[in-house]
Symmetry: C2
Subunit: 405 residues, 2 copies
């Protein structure tokens, strides 16, 4: 039997719990813990109705290592699936090390007081996990996660050498709100307001943030969704792919944004509502972006009226048999179908399903190793097979379109 502990009961935690419960032959005992026990209990009830499986719920403050250790020792899981906040990656890794259990997450660590996305903090755990014979699997959501696996698959099967990768993330959905974010607003807004970087010829090139007039964008013609304005953005998987895809000359990440979303974000930035520092207010210290989060719709609540699709994939260029070729590997996920299956919109769905598959790889021993791993370092084939079986089918086409040079 494999007991797992899911930490985090937001939109992604909901998907992970339900998808794991659908594989109760593998995940024979599922625990879910969060700062707010009531959120776990809602998921427990829905999982029981959906799959007839009984979860165990618990309360935990994921910022607090001793509390995490107590919980993990009580639960004795084979693996901790971390779908809490990115600020909490290191405390959860510390607790896993102390308790001798494997670790998986979907987003890299980010310090709470600076919007600074990079793997260095987590890669620094390499020796600690190796010494204990434990595996830490980093960034096993969709992007990072599936996009990395698409690249690993391309490297293994489609190319002799990869030259460039362009990851293209399109959410062509409509949630019906004037402004809402598809995952934790605090994390989302920190991500999209930062300085943009992409990797070229061994260096990181900086370009203006997406709210600036001179930011880099172009219209990409997505399958099903059609042409959508796509903005150059920094995204964490570029850091590990630049390291792990041999001979890579350039990697860029593009994300679609609608003009209303950008207008809202620009205004919120103008008035200071996206600030992550503390502001003195009526005797309290208030972080504006946290207060904004409290006002915006809960991303978990968006699903019920969400229509449209996400289209996320990689355009990869390189050589095969001494000939240049371009391939496009992508997944299309439908918001309404995702909600019908697990009561969650596609952005949470596309993150939660890969986390479950990663856990599947780890508890079955399909993926194993001691140390800290990014997903592209492991065999993509069994993972790619499970994507097709678990609601995230992928397609590969020759890419004949244009990308900015």
């Amino acid at each position: 039997m494999s007991r797992i502990l899911i930490i985090g009961a937001g939109g992604v935690g909901n998907v992970v719990a339900k998808k794991c419960a659908m594989h109760s032959e593998l995940f024979t005992d599922i625990w879910i813990a969060s700062r707010t026990l009531a959120k776990c209990d809602v998921i427990k009830k829905e999982v029981k109705e959906l799959c007839g499986v009984d979860l165990t719920t618990a309360r935990v403050d994921a910022d607090n290592v001793p509390e995490l250790v107590d919980l993990i020792q009580k639960c004795q899981p084979k693996l901790v699936i971390n779908v809490a906040l990115p600020y909490q990656d290191l405390t959860i890794m510390d607790a896993c090390l102390e308790c001798g259990v494997h670790y998986l997450d979907t987003a890299n660590y980010e310090p709470e007081d600076t919007a600074h996305f990079e793997y260095s903090w987590q890669w620094a755990y390499q020796e600690k996990f190796r010494e204990k014979g434990l595996m830490a699997l980093l960034g096993c959501g969709f992007d990072p996660g599936v996009t990395n696996i698409f690249c690993a698959y391309a490297q293994k099967h489609l190319f002799d050498a990869i030259e460039t990768i362009d990851i293209l993330d399109c959410n062509a959905g409509d949630h019906g709100h004037p402004f809402a974010t598809n995952f934790n607003p605090e994390i989302n807004i920190r991500e999209v307001t930062q300085v943009v970087r992409h990797y070229k010829d061994g260096e990181w090139v900086e370009t203006p943030p997406i709210l600036e007039d001179d930011c880099v964008h172009f219209s990409f013609d997505y399958p099903v969704a059609g042409p959508r304005e796509s903005y150059l953005l920094y995204h964490e998987e570029m850091e590990s792919l630049a390291k792990h895809i041999k001979g890579l000359k350039r990697i860029r990440f593009w994300m679609t944004f609608g003009q209303p979303y950008l207008t809202h974000l620009k205004v919120l930035e103008n008035v200071g509502m996206t600030r992550i520092d503390e502001v003195d207010f009526e005797g309290n210290k208030i972080v504006p972006i946290r207060f904004l989060k409290a006002l915006l719709p809960d991303p978990g609540s968006l699903g019920s009226n969400y229509t449209g699709k996400t289209v996320i994939g990689c355009v990869i260029r390189g050589d095969k048999d001494n000939k240049p070729q371009s391939k496009y590997i992508y997944n299309i996920c439908d918001h309404t179908e995702a909600f019908g299956e697990v009561q969650s919109q596609a952005v949470s769905y596309t993150t939660g399903v890969p986390a479950m598959i990663g856990a599947m790889m780890m508890v079955t021993g399909t993926w194993s190793g001691a140390g800290v791993f990014n997903v592209e370092q492991l065999d993509p084939d069994p993972f790619m097979e499970q994507l097709n079986k678990n609601g995230l089918p992928w397609q590969i086409t020759d890419f004949t379109g244009q990308l900015p040079e």
Copy 2:
């Protein structure tokens, strides 16, 4: 000698204090009080440098009647000039009644928990002031205030009968910030997000708020400023003018807004930042619009880089000698010149100067009476004369333009 007590040390309080100090032959002893003593002390220092006059400063919580009474008894002024928050009109009126001193304000009372602008609360003090032989002068800023006096002047000198009044308020200034309000953001935003009303044939007609697509607006060609999109808005002086201008069939109020201002406000409304109710946040009760106010530039700080002009006036139509005629009475005020004179932008300037003139009318006995008065009930001539002498010159022209019917 006339001792006066100014309550409120914001942008308008600053102008009132300086303009009064320029008339130290009339206002022989000037006190200024506010919740924040430091703001009074800054004004005191500037007044000393500007006019060589020594103010007396004091701290007071204007929500607290006993505190106000203590202060007024200590100060023994002839008149209290209230330029604090509109929520505080009634407590200050109560304290004036208790202490037997006259009262003047520039904006009508508004309850803190609902955006509801009307004179009924203050008009209800009629008997109390009458019985004590005291005068309460309401709404003696620019609009309300000077706009009412323009109407009274028109009634007295220019028309046999007034049929319609259109008040047109244009701020063609540029403060250089992506978004800021020209006076207290809390009051400003409450005012402009409310349902719009105008008076027609004895009834109040409702139209959509200015942020709705179907709100009422047109382009008016302002003197100097040129054509500007002007939005139908509810403004408090319409209520008293509809009562006091005999035979009036219609009164409307229009205010200019730039598209960036409207876009910012719409976004802030969309995300809930203009809410005036309490939100639970991290164990505290936070009123979003108050937190927004804490983030936005202090209106008092806008002056130093403010350029351009305000153009505020009334288009009045009616009959004279059995012939229809249209007159336009207006003032043009320059932000940079206002700042040069009293370190304040024109929006505070155009409110503060009339408050000083109203006080002048009262302490000299030019205007007198027992009870609650709106300015249009008093003789406009001496006030109009002082406008020309104190930085707010007015002009009257025949109006030949078009207004929406």
